[in-house]
């Protein structure tokens, strides 16, 4: 996950209670462990195993992808903007590699 995640957010300044939609994608090979390398040995499994979205340190949602999730995993989710804060998203893969993205959410009015 050498490249920064790509983030799209429907509204950074939502009205209280508004449903905010997030689209996020990270570059990752999502190696399933089913494939063989040129030497005939199976390529070791390396997938993104956890994605967490936190608002001011409190968990909004957690996603645990398995091998069925595509390369460069794309995730779209929503949450109700009950309060503002720092939205932080963290991806973790099998090798312990981490990708992070942050976005400040400010309630309008």
């Amino acid at each position: 996950m050498s490249r920064p995640p790509r983030i799209w957010i429907s509204n950074e300044t939502p009205a209280p209670g508004e449903i905010v939609r997030i689209r996020a994608q990270v570059v990752h090979p999502m190696e399933t462990g089913f494939r063989f390398g040129p030497d005939g040995q199976p390529l070791p499994e390396n997938i993104v195993t956890r994605f967490q979205a936190m608002l001011d340190g409190e968990l909004l949602m957690e996603w645990q992808p398995e091998t069925a999730v595509s390369q460069n995993p794309y995730i779209e989710f929503t949450f109700a903007a009950l309060r503002g804060g720092l939205l932080r998203m963290v991806w973790t893969d099998d090798s312990g590699d981490i990708a992070e993205a942050e976005q400040e959410i400010v309630l309008a009015g």
Partner: protein
């Protein structure tokens, strides 16, 4: 003068043809014998493994068929990235929210596609992702609500070819 060049060209063509024939019959060492499977991904023979995971998730409860929607395209033209969307139709409250959600691709080598966990802070459940599918199969989404209810949505999808070994 020109006839020598002509002969050389013919020789070259003949050698090329012989090489091609050798390759086709598998005599060429290294290339012809380097056949190996590209992937060990094998589809599930039936839905038994998916049913087992679903039963483990449900813990004996019977899921309701309403309230959860699974959106799939009519045809998965790229089996390595099939867009799948799961959302709840009923609005959530502070006390009734979705705790956990799983998506099952019933004939995949590993049927459990992914798992979601939500909190009361989420306030809305509408998720989308892209899945690799092994073959045309049924998909299931199961949700566990905080009040003990279980919701289920099913869908069928036709895909062009296997995407798990990619």
């Amino acid at each position: 003068m020109t006839s020598f060049a002509e002969i050389d060209r013919r020789k070259l063509l003949l050698t090329g043809t012989a090489l091609g024939a050798g390759l086709a019959s598998g005599l060429w060492p290294g290339l012809g014998s380097a056949q190996q499977p590209e992937s060990s991904a094998a589809p599930q023979p039936d839905d038994a493994e998916a049913d087992r995971i679903a039963a483990e998730f449900l813990g004996g409860a019977t899921p309701a068929a309403q309230g959860l929607v699974l959106d799939l395209p009519a045809l998965g033209d790229n089996p390595a990235a099939v867009p799948v969307r799961v959302h709840l139709t009923d609005p959530l409250t502070d006390t009734v929210f979705c705790e956990e959600l799983i998506v099952l691709a019933q004939r995949n080598p590993r049927p459990l596609a992914c798992r979601f966990r939500f909190t009361p802070l989420t306030g809305s459940v509408d998720v989308a992702m892209r899945l690799r599918l092994m073959e045309s199969m049924g998909l299931r989404a199961l949700a566990r609500m905080s009040d003990g209810r279980f919701l289920e949505a099913r869908g069928e999808i036709t895909v062009a070819a296997g995407g798990c070994g990619m």
